[in-house]
Amino acid sequence: MSLLFLDIETTGLSPLTSSLVTLQLMTPSGKSLIIKDPVSLEALKPKLENNLIIGHNLKFDSKFLRYQYGITLRSVYDTYLAEIAISGGRLARRKGASLKDLVFKYCGVQMDKSEQCGFKKGVALTAEQIKYAANDLKYLPEIMKQQQVQIKRLGLDNVIGIEMKCLPAVVWMELSGFHVDLNKFKEIKAFIQNKYYAAKAFLQKELVTYDKRYCVVDRVWGKLSVSINICHENKPRQLHRTR
């Protein structure tokens, strides 16, 4: 088993609707390869599935590769997950663990991410884009190396191990979704809706009875209704206080 550093550029965030524009790989010896608009990645499949893939936020990359090319990244080291674990969870769902942040933290370099959104399918890469794409991988070895020190220092070996092993399963679950009994779902929906309408009708009736200010007559149908949004959580409460 060898190491491969991986990153992808895409046209959007969803693997279901967006496309993969480039796949960047870097070998342990520093060779950087960029594959533009790949139709099939069959030739690379064994390499990606049988080696340790290192990248930042690999869940994103894994989902694209699995959904669009049928490739499952089995052994991964995700610098994003590792950083969250190192921070004791403080960085989970917060700013501070992006690749840019880690490059600055561990390498002291400010990354320019201005090219991030410029990747288009079918459009040749500019020199800047090529450099940007490769640059995303350039700092990963250093980040990983320094994270290893932290992991060792904090005794997080097992935690990181579990996190990384979980990632392929999470990818699978997020892409697969879960089974829903649609008939039962509709049944429950109808039941709740009926209760909602009954409650709404009752409230309307009560309001009109007790306070004529809220009573308006529908110009078209001539029906009575209330002039306020009774679905708003605060309004009925206000009315109740007024009463």
């Binding site: 060898s2 190491l3 010896s29 690379l44 400010q110 450099k131």
Partner: protein, 827 residues
């Protein structure tokens, strides 16, 4: 002022940090400035407030941000050459007619800019005679500020919402080339130094030139007086010369740089060669802390099946007390050895009566916390149960000892504080005690005659077929007080196997005895009594040795002897090995005897485990114990420093160590110099990322530690070592057993440990640690440390590659990528 305020507001909204100036001098101290974060409202307000507070301000200066470069194009020639750039470029016209062009710093210039900044405090460089590049953090005047001459700065092309034009390729190449020249250690372009030395006019960068010249002179190891006087005389050539204030500011910052260099240099006397100076390693605080944990980590490991006597003993001891595993394993061996009662022996041709399996063990450890006595008491309890009578501490005079031996030549001796016994043995009236003990160790019968002092007939004590096992414990300090080098010279000290662990272990609070404890104890008692009875009733028998096991033993013996020949402490090791090679056979035989069904044949597996125990643990520990006696921190100042370093877990900063040792600074430095030259310690420097202050650390290299090659194959024939978990109150022994069955054990075999120790001494810690953290293994990926694909090497390789060749990505189709990966050996 209102126009300045308006302009400032606009610049800040673009994400440009600006501050007020008067005559190009900032109104606020540069160090007071917060880190500029354009999205933060507080930051925005802070900068804007500066303009409101400093109504005297005439100018407005930009703090060049990291994503921007400013080019100062000086002469008209340049302007003509770069007309295409200046025509559409975002830039300003200065009062002198030169132009500041603001360009976007391309991502591929990150490294160049970073390396330029690292080399000097200044971030302004003449990449050509007439082109100056201004980097992140420097100040640059902006319109509508007023130049001291009275003219206003004007935009040639104003940036739209802060966006600046890209850096043209022509200039990009110039910057990269300049960066490379600087990286090669050449501070000046060809002819540049000569030009600077002739003196400069105003606006030609006199400040920057002064700093560079000072740095250049300091770099050439010039004395500070030389640097100072040279700069003063050079300044006179400038037109006009820099003011005294400016020059003294430059001298002050240059002097700081000079001091930093001196701080490292003065650690060495003039006799220290330049190589040693170059060996100062730079590390971060985290790496330095890591070194601390890597010190004194030797652990005794002995992997045996779950139903083995030793495993059962360790498990019981582990259940009853925390404390070092090393004690528990060795205590188990002592118990087993005592139970055999001179019955099994190894019939080596070289020994007269064969080699009996008596083991002399010595626990050394810190008082109380290491739990020596607890483990000794557990072993004592089981042996007392087995033999049916209590086993008391031995505290004999020679005469009393002889009397006891004459009555009971098979004796299990136990003492949890043996220092007083050792002290007695060294008294004059006990002369010859040590030598007598050595003979007892060999289990030879003898008649010992004690001198009577001329009053009576001398007494003769016949000691027939003795078999003595010893389980002793003491602390480091007491051991040092009670044992001497002559005790080792007589061979007495070499007959013991030592365990002296100092690593940190997880302590557990005391608890009450449970029914399960009693159940486990009775099981262990039954097994101990069974073994005692077995050997008690058995006739003496010779242990068999399989041919493979014997070959292995001979090979180990031969190779270790050869290795010892080339060691510096050859005599010590030679003496030790003559006893310890026999210990391999003894331990191997005990391992066989401790099996569930007692085996009478030594197999290759047991001899491999025994070899590993002796070579990887007992022999190095013996050397440590011996060194403990030779160290004299009172009279020998180097020893004093080394002892102090050990107190700080092997690494300490200059000031801390100086304070601890209470030596004179001059003397201390000279001692440090000697120790660096003799490779006893190494120097490590740490740069504080906040204030840039450099701290020097000294790291004890453990150069006296003995490392032996184990003839076992690199892939370790030694089975995995079970990890004994901390037994909690809530956890029954059966659960614990289940855990042991399921646990994969540690993958680190003894060879790997040795390999890593060597790496610790030779490699950078951080890289070494990538291997050591083992987290890749936790990922379920076995990374072979010997193969070419381990992370450390991969990272090294990558870094080397990065240094030597530019970072050139290749755009290629999938098939080509697969082929390239195949060529790289990635399948």
């Amino acid at each position: 002022m209102s126009s300045l305020l308006e302009a400032a507001r606009q610049y800040l909204s673009w994400g440009w940090a600006v501050i007020p100036t008067v005559n190009k001098i900032p109104c606020i101290s540069y160090t007071e400035l917060p880190h500029f974060n354009p999205t933060s409202k507080d930051c925005f307000d802070y900068y804007l407030k500066q303009f409101e507070e400093h109504s005297e301000a005439q100018g407005i200066a930009l703090i060049v941000n990291p994503n921007m470069l400013v080019l100062d194009l000086d002469s008209s020639r340049t302007e003509a050459e770069f007309e295409a750039i200046t025509k559409n470029a975002t830039g300003i016209k200065t009062a002198r007619g030169s132009k500041y062009i603001f360009v976007d710093r391309r991502p591929d210039l990150i490294d160049t800019c970073a390396s330029l900044r690292d080399r000097a405090g200044s971030a302004k460089f003449h990449i050509r005679e007439d082109v100056e590049i201004i980097l992140e953090g420097m100040l640059c005047e902006l319109p509508p500020g007023l130049h001291p001459s009275g003219q206003r700065y004007e935009w040639i092309n104003e940036p739209i919402k802060g966006f600046v034009t890209p850096l043209p390729d022509v200039l990009f190449n110039e910057v990269v080339r300049y960066g490379e020249t600087r990286r090669e250690g050449k501070n000046f372009l060809p002819g540049e130094l000569e030009r600077l030395l002739q003196g400069l006019s105003e606006g030609e960068g006199r400040n920057e030139a002064a700093i560079r010249i000072a740095g250049h002179l300091i770099g050439k190891n010039n004395n500070w007086n030389v640097v100072e006087s040279f700069l003063k005389s050079w300044n006179q050539k400038n037109n006009p010369p820099l003011s005294d204030n400016e020059l003294s500011g430059i001298l002050e910052s240059a002097h700081r740089y000079y001091d930093e260099k001196q701080e490292i240099k003065t650690c060495f006397s003039t006799t220290v060669n330049q190589e040693a100076l170059n060996e100062v390693k730079e590390m971060t605080e985290a790496e330095i802390n890591l070194l601390k944990t890597n010190f004194a980590q030797r652990k005794l490991k002995c992997d045996l099946p779950d139903d083995h006597f030793i495993t059962q003993f360790v498990k019981y001891a582990d259940r009853m007390t925390d404390g070092y595993q090393d004690y528990k394993i060795l205590g188990g061996f002592w118990l087993l050895s005592s139970l055999t009662q001179r019955k099994p022996y190894i019939d080596l041709a070289t020994s007269a009566d064969g080699i009996f399996l008596n083991v002399w063990t010595q626990f050394i450890g810190f008082s109380s916390i290491s739990r020596k006595t607890t483990v000794i008491d557990i072993a004592r309890m089981f042996f007392a149960y087995a033999q049916g009578e209590p086993l008391t501490d031995t505290d004999y005079s020679l005469e009393g000892y002889l009397e006891t031996l004459a009555e009971t030549p098979i004796l299990a001796m136990i003492n949890d504080e043996v220092s007083t016994v050792f002290q007695k043995m060294n008294q004059k009236y006990n002369a010859g005690y040590n030598e007598f003990e050595c003979k007892l160790y060999d289990c030879n019968s003898q008649n010992k005659r004690l001198a009577s002092g001329g009053k009576k007939e001398p007494k003769v004590y016949p000691v027939k077929d003795p078999y003595i096992t010893k389980l002793y414990g003491t602390t480091f300090v007491k051991y040092k007080r009670s044992m001497t080098i002559p005790d080792f010279d007589s061979g007495f000290g070499f007959r013991f196997v030592y365990t002296a662990p100092t690593y940190d272990f997880k302590q557990r609070p005391p608890r009450l005895r449970t029914a399960e404890d009693i159940e486990e104890r009775s099981k262990m008692e039954a097994r101990t009594a069974q073994l005692f009875e077995l050997f008690n009733q058995s006739a003496p028998f010779a242990m068999g040795v399989t041919p493979e096991a014997f070959d292995y033993y001979i090979k180990t013996d031969f190779e270790t002897q050869n290795e010892i020949k080339y060691k510096t402490n050859q005599e010590l090791l030679g003496q030790a090995w003559s006893r310890y090679s026999v210990y391999i056979l003894k331990f191997a035989a005990l391992i066989e005897i401790g099996k569930k069904s007692v085996s009478r044949v030594i197999t290759v597996e047991s001899i491999k485990i025994a070899t590993s125990m002796v070579l990887d643990y007992f022999l190095p520990t013996l050397c440590d114990v011996y060194n403990l006696l030779t160290v004299d921190p009172v009279n020998n100042k180097i020893d004093k420093i080394l002892e102090a370093l050990k107190d700080f877990k092997g690494i300490a900063s200059h000031s801390v160590l100086l304070r601890k040792t209470r030596l004179e600074s001059k003397e201390f430095r000279s001692l440090i110099s000697t120790m660096v030259e003799s490779d006893q310690i190494e120097l490590i420097s740490e740069k504080n990322p906040k204030n840039g202050k450099i701290t020097t650390y000294y790291h004890y290299l453990e150069c006296d530690e003995i490392e032996f090659k184990n003839p076992s194959s690199p892939n370790s024939q030694i089975p995995l070592i079970p990890r004994f978990t901390d037994t909690k109150n809530t956890m029954g022994i059966s659960e614990n057993l289940d855990f042991l069955k399921e646990s994969e054990g540690m993958r680190l075999d003894t060879q790997t440990v040795q390999y890593k120790k060597i790496q610790i001494l030779t490699d950078s810690r951080i890289e070494n640690n990538v291997c050591e953290s083992g987290n890749l293994e936790n990922l379920g990926i076995s990374v072979n440390l010997d193969s070419s694909t381990n992370t450390r090497e991969v990272v090294n390789e990558y870094k080397e590659n990065d240094k030597n060749t530019p970072f050139t990505p290749v755009v290629c189709p999938v098939e080509d990528a697969a082929r390239i990966l195949d060529e790289e050996g990635i399948y």
